[in-house]
């Protein structure tokens, strides 16, 4: 048991051990720097794995092989891609605003990395435990919009500017349901601290954990959060800002070489961090899914859940077609926003209805009715008939 407890805390012990070599007054600084190094090394590593998984997974879904030339089964593809982007020429358009053009990808990556600071990846494994950790994450997430605007504007290219405008409009619209859907967790936990939110979900009833996703308001909040997160990270089916068939590559059309790689990195790290927060808020963070699986280290559970979330995102990308701009906005303001507001009320009712089965029935019925009614009304407005297929002749 002691070995398992040590394995659970192995990275924390390692951090303390290394910091122990330094004088006492320097130790907090060294410990922080080690934490930063761990974040800066781990998540880009997962990013590299994700790119190859995504390309191979999408390849399978589209009935082709995907990358299979570099290394065994194409596993070393990200290394080759990295070297390629490092050695490529960095082209800055003549009419571009050079300073802003340079700053945009740098600011994006910095802001995205900052978001990981409050993400608890295991027991006692969080860089800073802010009293307002969740607010910090959303504040940092909101500032990435500015770097996207900078990229689109400074390129002096109509595709870039259109892509940036689309991206900013989309991110602002979906930030509202994203924030509102996570407020229910704060209401029930009574804290904005990410560590406390995970601890509040760490109990078990029989075999089953007290994750927020297993409550009516939690499930609705989780679904809304995931949809809004997809839109925030410009993932398919919300990838209008980068629609290849319309806008070349959107706001980073005029970026090449390593700056393009930085945008790529920022986008995937944004996806990782927002998936990490979905796990923290609704899926019990580093908690085990069954009480008898508690012997697996907490960080192991977190990263397993993260990989599962990434697989889900890749699956969605391979499955869903892109939305149209009006559908995107209608969905945000006419479906997501009312549902998120209603979910706030439901969470309040859940808190004050007391224990027992009554609150499960009431909350579920309210949410399901609202979902069905809103969906019907919206679908009627869309004027969609039966699905029709057209084949090439």
């Amino acid at each position: 048991m002691s070995f398992l407890a040590n394995l659970d805390q192995v990275f924390v012990l390692l951090q303390h051990w290394i910091a122990g070599f330094f004088p006492l007054w320097l130790q907090p600084v060294v410990a922080t720097i080690l934490g930063v190094i761990a974040i800066v090394a781990t998540f880009p590593g997962i990013f590299a794995v994700t790119t190859v998984l995504e390309r191979k997974g999408l390849g399978r879904m589209q009935n082709r092989l995907g990358p299979n030339r570099v290394g065994p089964l194409g596993i070393l593809q990200p290394v080759a891609d990295g070297i390629k982007s490092l050695t490529k020429e960095d082209i800055v358009p003549l009419s571009a605003d050079a300073v802003v053009h340079f700053l945009a990808p740098v600011l994006l990556v910095i802001a995205v990395f900052l978001g990981f600071a409050v993400l608890p990846v295991g027991r006692n494994m969080v860089l800073v435990n802010f009293d307002a950790g969740l607010l910090f994450f959303f504040a940092i997430g909101a500032s990435t919009e500015l770097s996207i605007f900078m990229a689109g504007w400074s390129s002096r290219n109509k595709y870039s500017l259109l892509g940036a405008m689309r991206a900013v409009a989309q991110m602002i619209s979906y930030e509202v349901p994203l924030l509102l859907s996570s407020v229910v967790v704060v209401m029930i936990t009574g804290s904005l601290s990410t560590v406390k939110i995970v601890e509040a979900q760490s109990g078990f009833t029989g075999w089953f954990p007290h994750w927020y996703v297993f409550t009516p308001w939690g499930f609705a909040g989780f679904a809304l959060f995931v949809v809004a997160a997809l839109a925030e990270t410009n993932r398919s089916p919300f990838d209008l800002p980068e629609g290849e068939s319309e806008l070349v590559a959107g706001y980073f059309t005029e970026y090449s070489g390593f700056k393009f790689a930085l945008f790529f990195l920022g986008e995937y790290l944004g996806m990782l961090s927002i998936a990490g927060f979905a796990i923290t808020l609704f899926l019990g963070g580093w908690g085990a899914p069954f009480s008898f699986l508690g012997f697996v280290p907490s960080w192991g559970w977190f990263f397993l859940k993260l990989l599962a979330a990434i697989a889900f995102f890749i699956w969605l990308r391979g499955t869903l077609p892109r939305l149209r701009q009006d559908q995107l906005m209608n969905f945000a303001w006419k479906f997501m926003l009312p549902m998120a507001l209603l979910n706030l009320l439901v969470a309040g009712a859940w808190r004050f209805l007391g224990d027992g089965w009554g609150r499960w029935v009431i909350c579920s019925i309210v949410l399901l009715t609202a979902y069905a009614l809103l969906g019907r009304v919206l679908m009627r407005k869309q004027g969609l008939g039966a699905r029709s297929y057209r084949y090439a002749e």
């Binding site: 605003d97 802003v100 802010f130 009293d131 307002a132 607010l135 910090f136 959303f138 504040a139 940092i140 997430g141 909101a142 500032s143 919009e145 500015l146 605007f149 900078m150 504007w153 002096r156 500017l161 405008m165 900013v168 602002i172 930030e175 009574g190 804290s191 904005l192």
Partner: protein, 179 residues
């Protein structure tokens, strides 16, 4: 004041003031908006340095995440992103300068008058996010509700202003067209 705190404060204030100066002096309007964002970020850092976490993060969320974007959109939608055509000094620079100096003098006078002569060093209250929330929901609930109603009214008003007016007149020509 401890020396370390002084250095951090100096760095942040230099950043903030530099951003504000750039926002006033640069020629390209979008550059001005971006420099203004630097000022917003500097202010947020100042709040954080004073241990006001909520104010600092709210500053980032509202000003960098929303107001800066709003300013940028306003510039792009009204004047375009083209070449700058403005001089640094408007013709009424003297009047502007005197008004600014008068406002500054008034503010400085008010601040120096209202400060207690000696603030005891250890009276900084520990304000947590929880206590801010509790205060907003209990003693300040009426102002909060008024602000909420005001913002909702502004939102609906903006939608009405932006709504196409053709809706009332549109059906007639369509019927005439035999659709």
């Amino acid at each position: 004041m401890i020396a370390g705190v002084g250095v951090v404060f100096l760095l942040i204030s230099v950043l903030t003031v530099a951003g504000a100066l750039a926002a006033a002096l640069l020629r390209n309007l979008v550059h001005c908006a971006l420099s203004l964002t630097v000022t917003f970020a500097g202010l947020a850092l100042l709040y954080l340095q004073l241990d006001a976490q909520f104010a600092g993060f709210a500053q980032i969320l509202v000003y960098i995440g929303a107001v800066a974007i709003l300013v940028a959109f306003a510039i792009l939608l009204t004047r375009g992103a083209g070449a700058p055509e403005y001089r640094n000094f408007s013709s009424s620079w003297f009047a502007g300068l005197s008004i600014a100096a008068a406002v500054f003098a008034l503010l400085a006078w008010a601040v120096t008058k209202s400060l207690p002569v000696r603030v005891p060093a250890e009276t900084a209250p520990a304000v947590t996010v929880q206590s801010i929330g509790a205060a907003l929901m209990s003693s300040y609930v009426l102002p909060l509700e008024i602000v909420a109603v005001l913002l909702t009214v502004a939102l609906i008003g903006a939608v009405i202003v932006a709504m196409p007016e053709a809706k009332a007149t549109k059906p007639l020509p369509e019927k005439a067209g035999g659709k």
